[in-house]
Symmetry: C2
Subunit: 243 residues, 2 copies
């Protein structure tokens, strides 16, 4: 127990910049922020599997903090839908998607993301275009192997592309709406049973969306994004018929 050894640990955060990289005037973090990021990373890269219990006390011991910041971090996470809480029983990682859940998720993406693409197109500039091109380049060059660890970069580039488009709408509400979906999409990619069975097509679709955006025609961008998401849905539905 390291905790017992150093008596009062309260507020002893002067030497704890939480390892933020390249911190330019890092807005000071509190422990709950650190715990939140740690849990989120565990959820997004598969270390925490659906259905697993997330014990408050256990997480606190693991991260060597007290339960109070862990409670705060979990309260924030609950709102993302990635963990669920049952009063007096604790938190669990949200269960795996059913086929219906996935259909719902795609329905929601179809409502939001094409609009994002249209607005992002209208507000595009060279710098932003370069950012988007980078993610597509990353997607193409990411290694794709059979195990999860081997296509982690691929999934991250995929997510990054969609997230960037949301940010480029300059609309905080659309960013928020996409963020709520993006985490779920990523989790489904990991646990939904569908691998990257058809990465070539997916890459081609991303390229099409990028081309449509750079063409400057918002309608084309909207249509390209809608087509992409529909294709994603079709591929996933075909991969995991389940019945």
């Amino acid at each position: 127990m390291q905790k017992a050894s150093n008596g009062t640990r309260a507020g002893s955060r002067p030497e704890d910049p939480t390892g933020r990289k390249a911190g330019r005037t890092v807005s000071r973090q509190v422990l709950a922020d650190h715990v939140y990021e740690e849990l989120l990373a565990s959820l997004m890269d598969g270390r925490l599997e659906p259905g697993a219990a997330v014990s408050i006390d256990g997480t606190a011991r693991e991260l060597d903090v007290s339960p109070t910041p862990v409670r705060e971090a979990l309260a924030r996470l609950e709102h993302t839908g990635m963990v669920r809480r049952v009063a007096l029983k604790g938190y669990r990682v949200a269960p795996v998607f059913t086929r219906e859940d996935f259909a719902d998720l795609m329905e929601a993406r179809l409502a939001i993301e094409p609009v994002n693409a249209r607005l992002a197109c209208a507000r595009l500039n060279p710098h932003r275009l370069a950012e988007l091109e980078q993610t597509v380049t990353d997607l193409k060059s990411a290694p794709r192997g059979p195990s999860f660890a081997e296509y982690k970069d691929y999934l991250e580039a995929d997510e990054q592309f969609h997230q960037l488009i949301a940010q480029q709408t300059d609309n905080q509400f659309l960013v928020g709406a996409y963020a709520a979906l993006g985490g779920q999409v990523q989790r489904f990619r990991l646990f939904g049973g569908v691998g990257i069975t058809d990465a070539e097509n997916a890459i081609a679709e991303h390229q099409s969306v990028l081309d449509a955006l750079s063409s400057g025609d918002p309608e084309k961008a909207e249509a390209a994004m809608a087509a992409h998401i529909q294709k994603v849905r079709e591929r996933a539905m075909a991969d995991a018929p389940e019945e």
Copy 2:
């Protein structure tokens, strides 16, 4: 200080059903739930004004609980965008919308709500239709006076209508996406400077949406909702030109 008088209060929750109405097997609540609802109600009905500080300790004293559940409730609320947190400085009620924020909000609503209407229409049934009709009836019969208190019911019926349509999509993600916007819409109705200057038109538009839904034509429902939101935007923009 009531707290000092009853010694340990921990776990003394057997006699605290938190007053949930018509509790059918009320899933047990914890204090954080109660605090959350209390704060949310204060935000939604205007008792907490934009920019006001929400002190953790102060709220705890006011509600006669310890700061721990208050921290948890505020962590959840932060994710709704209605309060903002600055590390080591505390929480504040999110500031009043600017004209640009409002435009963004309407842009986001235009992406989501027409789709909600289309899907709700496809999944409509007599019971659901009756629910919708009730909210329109409430809207028509709600008193509308000059002061806030006098059109509180009007605003609630308005919000209820849109929320019901979101729920009737049977899509948890769209419900969540709308919920994130609905709170902001309601807050803008209270503090955005626009009153109910043109309630007759707004009521007529709700009726149009309802008619389109009951016609059974999803495309008509989608169009009616889009038209309604655009009109709302136009009215608000005209009311508060600001420049």
